[in-house]
């Protein structure tokens, strides 16, 4: 339009240096923390810790929490919260192992169990989303209600009994290895990679970030905020369903206590990973690191026969330290408002 003097060269570096200070710096901190825990593990456990079998054990344990945390990353990035994922996971394991489901699986294929769990999880998530978006109930309350309701329903359906998966093929499939790595771990890997692409490379992810950053601006720009909110909670429900399948694969037990307090671990992993609790910024890579940090820590503690109370204290410390470190690394905008 006109010939203005070009921008000063100093501004060239802006995006690069803030990138260093931003996500890379944060992830570096998390990697260091994970490395530190591993060093402690090696010192205290030696061979027992640094054993391929043990590493696979850690990863297998991480799988269930990890899958749920990927879904939670989307919810938190959009500025929401989902307290119901643990209960929904429990309900999904119960529903997928009822006599009716198992009979159907028997006469058809064990995949019926998988689909039931996914359907239950997704349906619960969609209900959450609809209540939040169209009922205008705050996410905390809506999902708190679902947390209580789903757990209760799971107790009613199972009559508080443990229901075993009868299908040997199902158990065999999920206990198997593929290329030397358990199927359960593959499940986590696939969900994490899919989550990364979904968040960073698709319009779905862009909408999620925009809504979390400024819902009103997103709405006025023509984004269907309500509909997208329903999808996000549906996605969180879906991951709870996938995790339920993983849980059944690992333990074969469908009980109403499955996934108890899992939502808190998931939220902790997501936030420690660097996703902003206020919304507008999310990182799948960080979430994966957060999950690995907590799971490895548990493993190190168990290996040293330390009480679960001590674990809780350590967990609390990690959450605080990680968030403090993040604030150091994060390029906090120096603005007045």
């Amino acid at each position: 339009m006109n010939t203005q003097t070009s921008a000063p060269p100093a501004e060239e570096h802006a995006s690069r240096s803030s990138w260093l200070r931003g996500s890379a710096g944060r992830n570096l901190g998390l990697v260091l923390a994970l490395a530190l825990i591993c060093v402690v593990g090696v010192i205290t456990g030696g061979e027992r810790f640094a054993d391929w079998g043990n590493i696979l054990t850690i990863l297998r344990l991480a799988a269930v929490l990890g899958v749920v945390s990927i879904g939670m990353t989307f919810v938190i990035t959009s500025g929401g919260i989902d307290l119901s994922v643990g209960s929904v996971l429990g309900l999904a394991t119960v529903w997928a192992t009822t006599l009716a489901t198992q009979t159907m699986a028997d006469s058809f294929h064990w995949i019926v169990i998988v689909f039931t769990a996914l359907a239950v999880g997704t349906a619960a998530g969609l209900i959450n989303g609809a209540i939040i978006a169209y009922g205008k109930v705050v996410a905390f309350i809506a999902t708190l209600a679902m947390m209580a309701g789903a757990r209760g329903l799971a107790e009613i359906i199972s009559d508080r009994q443990t229901q075993r998966v009868q299908s040997n093929e199902f158990t065999a499939f999920f206990r198997a290895d593929f290329l030397g790595v358990p199927v359960l771990v593959w499940m986590f890997v696939v969900v994490a990679i899919a989550g990364w692409f979904l968040l960073n490379r698709t319009t779905f992810g862009r909408r999620t970030v925009a809504i979390g950053g400024n819902a009103e601006a997103a709405r006025l720009a023509g984004i269907k905020v309500k509909r997208h909110t329903v999808y996000i909670y549906g996605l969180a429900g879906l991951t709870a369903g996938i995790a339920a399948v993983g849980m059944l694969g690992r333990t074969t037990a469908g009980t109403s206590t499955n996934g108890f307090l899992l939502e808190l671990d998931a939220i902790a992993a997501v936030v420690v990973g660097g996703t902003l609790l206020a919304g507008g910024r999310g990182t799948i890579f960080g979430t994966v690191l957060g999950v690995l940090i907590f799971t490895t820590l548990t493993n190190v503690f168990v290996m040293n026969n330390m009480s679960s109370s001590a674990q809780l204290v350590a967990k609390g410390l990690i959450i605080v330290v990680a968030v403090l470190l993040q604030q150091r690394f994060a390029n906090k905008p120096s603005s007045t408002t």
Binding site: M1, N2, Q4, T5, S6, A7, P8, A10, E11, E12, H13, A14, S15, R16, S17, S18, R21, R201, T202, T203, F204, G205, R206, V209, A210, G213, N214, E216, A217, A218, R219, L220, A221, G222, I223, K224, G280, R281, N331, P333, S334, S335, T336, T337
Partner: protein
């Protein structure tokens, strides 16, 4: 107000440097302010005005330079220190807390309290006093701030600055959200303050305001002082513009070729109403036409176009775009039908502040640029960069966070959003708020070009000359009603004001 032999400066800033990661916002700025003067700070968007006053307010730490108060060097490590030194600031972006009442906002940070208990009655009394002084006794101290319109929030922010016993009050574009009546109020208060010896640092892009109340001027360009202590009375406007922009700017509104009688009607608003806000609004905008909505702040202009857009659900009436009737309260449908809105409050309604500029620009179009749900970021960056260059948005870095742009450049990013998306009907709410003189005439030209290309444009502006200069036809809005409509050339500023006043009396 300034005597022949100027008194000793009250406040001096010397060689102030402020660098942000990757950007040198201030590069050795000097400013001295005399007691009792109105010192104007001028400069283009991104020149560093807000940064300079944030340094003075203790919100930013200078990288280098000294600040002297009464000739003594002082340190301002945090905002409270600034207040202790007698510097109160009204920021460019509204900084009121929505959930608190008017009184609580005004005394935020220096609550009147004894032993932890707020003295409510005194709080309310002092708030009434200050509001009365600002000519706004009608605002209740106990009203929640979220229920006030933008102008009301600005009054609260002003009242907060007055509530401190300040010796210097900094006002960063206070008039941007005010209409002419409010601006008169503001200037009356400014005069009162300067008579008491309080110095005012005044930032505005409206040069006529500077003519009215300014004493001396400091001009910034690219973070440097390019004009020091110029006397308002002796400095011609051309000279100021040349200092600010480094070039001559033609200050005229683009000519309208006139709207063809048979041009298709792109936007047809019929009997639109929003209960409690406005009723029975009807107008048509043809291809190639610019319609201006004139009126006071709070007259319902913004609400009208937000309802046309579907951001508010109309109680009655219809909106038809290119022959297609819109469902009330459905923004995505409106956008699909080809309407775009640049909202009034860019920070809360327009931008995702922590996202990069290019993603803000493509916020309405990333989905159509994407292929089967997969984002095409290179295409987004390219489309955004084209508009960044066309609008002279600075810095020319599509990747930085929208938060770090100066106010006027944020406004340009919003305009760019609809240029990338492409729409037939463009609704612009205060499109030049906070935009500097140079860019302003470019935006006028751009709006005209969009109309000439066959689009329909609706413009709201608190600056009546802007509406009259830009629009083909004008609707005068008062108290939620269209009280007059006519070709823009048939009415002048006085005519509009008379109509508005009549309307509000009736």
């Amino acid at each position: 107000m300034v005597t022949e032999d100027p008194p000793a400066p009250l406040l001096q800033m010397q060689g102030i440097v402020k660098t942000f990661p990757g950007a040198r916002a201030l590069d050795g700025v000097d400013l001295d302010v005399l007691p009792g003067e109105v010192h104007c700070l001028l400069g283009q968007n991104g020149a560093g005005k807000s940064t300079l006053i944030k340094v003075l307010a203790g919100a930013h730490q200078p990288t280098d330079g000294t600040i002297l108060m009464d000739g003594e060097p002082i340190d301002i490590p945090h905002p409270v220190a600034a207040l202790e030194h007698g510097v109160a600031t009204m920021y460019q972006e509204l900084d009121v807390v929505d959930g608190l009442t008017v009184a609580e906002n005004i005394f935020l940070g220096h609550e009147l309290a004894t032993g932890g208990f707020t003295r409510r009655r005194e709080l309310v009394r002092r708030t009434r006093e200050i509001l009365a002084r600002l000519g706004h006794s009608e605002i209740s101290p106990n009203r929640e701030v979220s229920s006030l319109p933008a102008a009301g929030k600005q009054v609260v922010s002003m009242a907060r600055a007055l509530s401190h016993d300040a010796r210097v009050i900094v006002m960063d574009e206070p008039s941007a959200v005010l209409d002419s009546g409010e601006v008169d109020n503001l200037f009356r208060v400014v005069e009162e303050l300067t008579n008491q010896g309080i110095a005012i640092i005044y930032i505005s892009h409206r040069l006529e305001e500077i003519r009215r109340i300014g004493d001396r001027i400091t001009v910034l360009k690219d973070g440097k002082t390019v004009g020091r202590n110029l006397r308002v009375a002796d400095t011609p406007t051309d000279e100021l513009i040349r200092l600010m922009t480094g070039r001559d700017v033609e200050f005229v509104f683009p000519d309208s070729p006139g709207v063809a009688e048979d041009a298709p009607v792109l936007l047809d608003v019929d009997g639109l109403a929003l209960d409690g806000t406005f009723h029975d609004v009807s107008f048509r905008v043809r291809s190639g036409e610019i319609v201006g909505l004139a009126g006071l702040v709070g007259s319902g202009r913004s609400e009208i176009i937000e309802t046309v857009y579907g951001a508010r659900r109309a109680s009655r009436g219809t909106v038809t775009v290119s022959g297609k009737k819109l469902r009330p309260g459905d923004v995505p449908a409106a956008v699909d039908a080809g309407i775009g809105l640049c909202p009034e409050e860019r920070k809360s309604q327009g931008l995702v502040l922590d996202e990069p500029v290019y993603r803000n620009i493509t916020l309405s179009s990333f989905a159509s640029l994407a292929r089967a749900g997969w984002l095409d970021e290179p295409a987004e960056k390219k489309a955004a960069t084209v508009q960044i260059e066309a609008l002279d948005l600075r810095p020319r870095d599509a990747g930085r966070a929208a938060r770090t742009l100066s106010g006027g450049n944020q406004q340009k990013a919003l305009l760019a959003r609809w240029l990338v998306h492409g729409c037939e009907v463009l609704l612009l709410d205060e499109p030049t708020r906070g935009v500097d003189v140079g860019a302003r005439s470019e935006i006028y030209a751009l709006i005209r070009r969009l109309a000439d290309a066959g689009n329909a444009v609706v413009v709201i502006s608190s600056e009546i000359p802007e509406v009259l200069g830009l629009a083909d036809n004008v609707l005068v809005v008062s108290d939620g009603e269209v009280v007059h409509r006519c070709p823009a050339k048939d009415i002048n500023e006085h005519g509009v004001l008379d109509l508005v006043m009549e309307g509000s009396v009736a």
